[in-house]
C-alpha cells in the first residue's frame, strides 16, 4: 500500500484532524479507520532509521524501526482503536480527536530515532492528554487538568534541559543507553521518570485520571506511563537505581489503592503499581527482564484499558464513582461484570490470562539473577495486586452489598470494545507465543510449567482468602488519602498565605511606626517650641543658640 515509509504517527494525527473537520455522520468511520491504518503502517516499518529530515538546523530521525519500537507502537494503535470503539457514540468529537492525537504522540515517541523527535512527540502527548482530562467537563476536572499540565510541562522542561546538555556535551542526539554520570543525563532521567509517575512526582496520575470523562479515562490509562517505560528501556536499561524506584512504586500503588474509595482512583493507583513492575524489570536489565518489561507493558495496556472500560461503563450508566455507594451491579450489568473480572484476573497474573505470561518473566528474571530481596518483594507484591485490584475492584463495584442501583447494561459499542479486549487478555494468556514472537530479544521462556501454575495459584488464592478474612478492615470510608499533591494543593497555598499575611502585617506595623514618630515630632515642636524661641525662655538659652548658629555659619564658610 505504501511505497515509502509514512510516519505512523502522522496518519493518526491526520485522522484526528479529519474527525474534527468531517461531517458528524463520517466522524465515527474516520475515527475507527485511522487507528487501523496506523496499525498497518506500524507493521510496515522495517528495522533501522527510515526517515530523516531537517528541523531547526538539526538532522532528526522521524522514524526508526526495531522490534521493541514496533511492539509498543502496535499496542498503542490497538489501544487507540479499542478506545475509539468504546467511546465513539458517547464522546464529543473534540474528546475523540484529542485522544487520537494523544495516541499519535505515543506512537511518535515509539518510533523516535533521536532525542529531539522524542521530545516533540512527548510534548504533544502532554498537551493533548491535558485536553482529554479537561473533557471531564467539571470544575474539578478543569482544576485537575491544570495541575496535570503544570506537572507535565515542568517534566518536559527538565527533559529538554537534559537533551540540550547531552547535545552540548557529546554533539549527538542519538537515542542510546545513557549512564547517570552528568547533570544532563540526570535531567533526562528525571524528566522521563516524571511521566512514569515515579516518586516523589507520582500524585498527578491519581489526581487527574479519575476526573476525566468515563471514556477519557480509557485513553489516559494507556499512553503516558508506558511511553515512559519504553524511553527507560531505550535510555537506561540495567540502571540499578530503577529497581528500587520500581519497588517503591509497586508498594505505593498497592497501599494507596487499598485506602481508596473512588473506583477509578483505585485503578489509577494500580497503574503506578504495574508500571513499578516494568521499571523494576528495566532496572534488572537482563534480556529476560527487558523482554518482561516490554511484554508486561503490552499486556498491561490491554487489561488496564479493559478495567477502565468496565469502570467507565459503570460510571456512564450510574454516575456513581464511590465504592461505598456502588455494589451488586452484576445483576443488571453481566457483560460489564464478566469483562471487569477478566481484566482483574489478568492484572493479577492469573494463569491463562495475559498478565501471567508477562509478569512471571519479571519475577523469574529477578530469581535467575539471585536478587533475593527484590524477588521476595516482587512475590509479595504479586499477592498484593490480587488484593487491591484483582478482588477489591470487582468485589466492591459489582458484588459487595446490594446498593439498590439497577442500571441497564452498557451501550453496545462499549460492550463490543470490552469483549474484544477481554478476549485479547485470554488469547495472549493461552497462546503466549503470539506476544513472545514480538519481543526484542529471543525468548527462551516457558510460563506454563506445572510448578509455576501451582505456586501462582497458591499465592493468589491465599491472597484472596486474606481479602475475605480481613473484609471488616477493608470497609470503605468516604475519604480520600493525602498524597504528595497535598504539598502543592494545601501546604503551598497555606504557606504562601501565611507569608503574605505576615508581610502585610509587617508593612502595616512599619508605616504605623513611621506615622506615630512623625506625629510625636510635630506635636513636640508645636507644644514645646516656646521653651526655646519665646520671650519666656531664659537669656542663657538664647545666647547658647546664637553661638551654635554662628558656629555653624563659621564651619560652613570654612568648608564650602
Amino acid at each position: 500500500m505504501f511505497e515509502f515509509v509514512v510516519p505512523p504517527a502522522f496518519i493518526l494525527i491526520s485522522g484526528a484532524v479529519l474527525v474534527a473537520l468531517a461531517r458528524p455522520a463520517l466522524r465515527p468511520i474516520i475515527a475507527l479507520l485511522a487507528p487501523l491504518i496506523t496499525l498497518y503502517a506500524v507493521w510496515q516499518v522495517p528495522d533501522g532509521v527510515q526517515l530523516t529530515t531537517t528541523f531547526l538546523g538539526y538532522q532528526i530521525e522521524l522514524v526508526e524501526g526495531s522490534a521493541l519500537r514496533r511492539l509498543f507502537a502496535t499496542v498503542f494503535a490497538l489501544m487507540a482503536f479499542g478506545g475509539v470503539l468504546f467511546a465513539f457514540r458517547q464522546s464529543k468529537w473534540y474528546e475523540l480527536s484529542a485522544a487520537m492525537i494523544y495516541a499519535a504522540g505515543a506512537i511518535g515517541v515509539s518510533f523516535a530515532g533521536d532525542l529531539i523527535t522524542l521530545f516533540i512527540f512527548w510534548e504533544l502527548m502532554a498537551l493533548f492528554s491535558t485536553v482529554v482530562v479537561w473533557c471531564g467537563g467539571t470544575e474539578t476536572a478543569r482544576a485537575a487538568g491544570i495541575r496535570y499540565a503544570i506537572v507535565h510541562l515542568t517534566g518536559g522542561l527538565i527533559l529538554k534541559i537534559g537533551i540540550e546538555g547531552i547535545y552540548v556535551a557529546t554533539g549527538s542526539l542519538e537515542i542510546q543507553a545513557l549512564t547517570l554520570d552528568s547533570f544532563a543525563t540526570w535531567m533526562v532521567f528525571i524528566g522521563v521518570l516524571i511521566n512514569a509517575a515515579a516518586p516523589p512526582i507520582s500524585a498527578w496520575l491519581a489526581d487527574a485520571y479519575p476526573e476525566s470523562s468515563p471514556m477519557g479515562g480509557v485513553f489516559l490509562s494507556a499512553f503516558t506511563t508506558k511511553t515512559s517505560v519504553l524511553a527507560l528501556i531505550l535510555l537506561f536499561p540495567g540502571q540499578p537505581l530503577l529497581v528500587w524506584v520500581g519497588l517503591f512504586m509497586i508498594f505505593y500503588g498497592i497501599i494507596f489503592a487499598l485506602l481508596e474509595n473512588d473506583m477509578r482512583r483505585i485503578l489509577s493507583y494500580s497503574i503506578v503499581n504495574q508500571v513499578g513492575f516494568m521499571v523494576t524489570a528495566v532496572g534488572i536489565g537482563t534480556e529476560l527482564a527487558l523482554n518482561g518489561a516490554a511484554a508486561h507493558a503490552f499486556s498491561h495496556i490491554i487489561y488496564k484499558a479493559l478495567l477502565f472500560m468496565s469502570a467507565g461503563a459503570v460510571l456512564y450508566q450510574t454516575g456513581v464513582r464511590k465504592c461505598s455507594e456502588l455494589g451488586g451491579l452484576f445483576r443488571t450489568m453481566p457483560v460489564t461484570t464478566v469483562c471487569g473480572i477478566i481484566g482483574a484476573l489478568a492484572i493479577s497474573a492469573f494463569p491463562f490470562t495475559s498478565g501471567f505470561v508477562s509478569k512471571s518473566m519479571i519475577s523469574s528474571a529477578a530469581g535467575y539473577e539471585h536478587l533475593g530481596t527484590v524477588w521476595f518483594l516482587l512475590i509479595a507484591a504479586s499477592a498484593g495486586v490480587f488484593l487491591h485490584a484483582g478482588i477489591k475492584f470487582p468485589w466492591f463495584v459489582f458484588f459487595q452489598k446490594d446498593s439498590g442501583l439497577r442500571p441497564p447494561e452498557a451501550p453496545w459499542n462499549m460492550r463490543i470494545a470490552m469483549i474484544l479486549f477481554a478476549a485479547a487478555c485470554i488469547i495472549i494468556g493461552l497462546f503466549p507465543n503470539l506476544l513472545y514472537s514480538l519481543l526484542p530479544y529471543p525468548v527462551d521462556y516457558e510460563p506454563y510449567t506445572a510448578e509455576h501454575v501451582v505456586t501462582q495459584l497458591q499465592l493468589l488464592l491465599f491472597a484472596g482468602l486474606a481479602f475475605f478474612v480481613l473484609l471488616p478492615l477493608m470497609k470503605r470510608t468516604e475519604t480520600i488519602s493525602l498524597d504528595v499533591d497535598w504539598l502543592y494543593r494545601r501546604a503551598g497555598p497555606v504557606l504562601a498565605g501565611k507569608i503574605d499575611r505576615a508581610l502585610t502585617r509587617a508593612i502595616t506595623a512599619t508605616s504605623q511606626a513611621i506615622l506615630s514618630l512623625g506625629t510625636f515630632l510635630v506635636k513636640g515642636v508645636k507644644e514645646s517650641s516656646y521653651r526655646y524661641f519665646s520671650s519666656r525662655a531664659p537669656m542663657g538659652h538664647t545666647a547658647l543658640w546664637m553661638a551654635a548658629v554662628l558656629a555653624l555659619f563659621l564651619v560652613m564658610t570654612l568648608v564650602i
Binding site: I379, G384, V454, L459, L461
Partner: protein
C-alpha cells in the same frame, strides 16, 4: 435471563448468587481448592531460586501473610492520611466586604 426474572430482580428479588446457601457452598468449594493447591505440591516438585521458597506451602503462607501485613500497614497509614472526601473542595471565596455584610446580617438576626 428471561424478562420475568429480569423484572423480578429489578424489583429486588434475591439473586441466586447472594442467597446464604450459595455463599456457604462457595466458601466450602474455595476452601477445597485452596487445600488442593497446597496438597498438589506433594506431586509437583517446586524448583527453588533460594531455599525457603521450596518449602511446601511457601507461596500460600507468604502470600497470605504479606497481604495481612499490607492491609494492616495501609490501615495504620490511613489513620494519618485519610481525610473527608470534600477535603480539597474549597468553599467559594467571597470578598472581605461581602463577608462583613453577611456577618452584620447574622448579627442583626441574633
Amino acid at each position: 435471563m428471561t424478562p420475568e426474572r429480569e423484572r423480578a430482580i429489578r424489583e429486588g428479588a434475591s439473586h441466586w448468587l447472594v442467597q446464604p446457601k450459595t455463599i456457604r457452598i462457595l466458601w466450602w468449594v474455595s476452601g477445597v481448592i485452596l487445600a488442593l493447591t497446597v496438597v498438589a505440591q506433594l506431586w509437583i516438585h517446586v524448583h527453588a531460586y533460594f531455599s525457603v521458597d521450596g518449602w511446601p506451602g511457601f507461596y500460600a503462607g507468604f502470600g497470605f501473610l504479606s497481604c495481612v501485613a499490607m492491609v494492616l500497614f495501609a490501615k495504620m497509614l490511613g489513620w494519618i492520611l485519610k481525610r473527608p472526601d470534600d477535603y480539597y473542595i474549597e468553599p467559594t471565596q467571597l470578598a472581605p466586604n461581602v463577608l462583613e455584610r453577611e456577618q452584620e446580617r447574622q448579627d442583626d438576626n441574633v
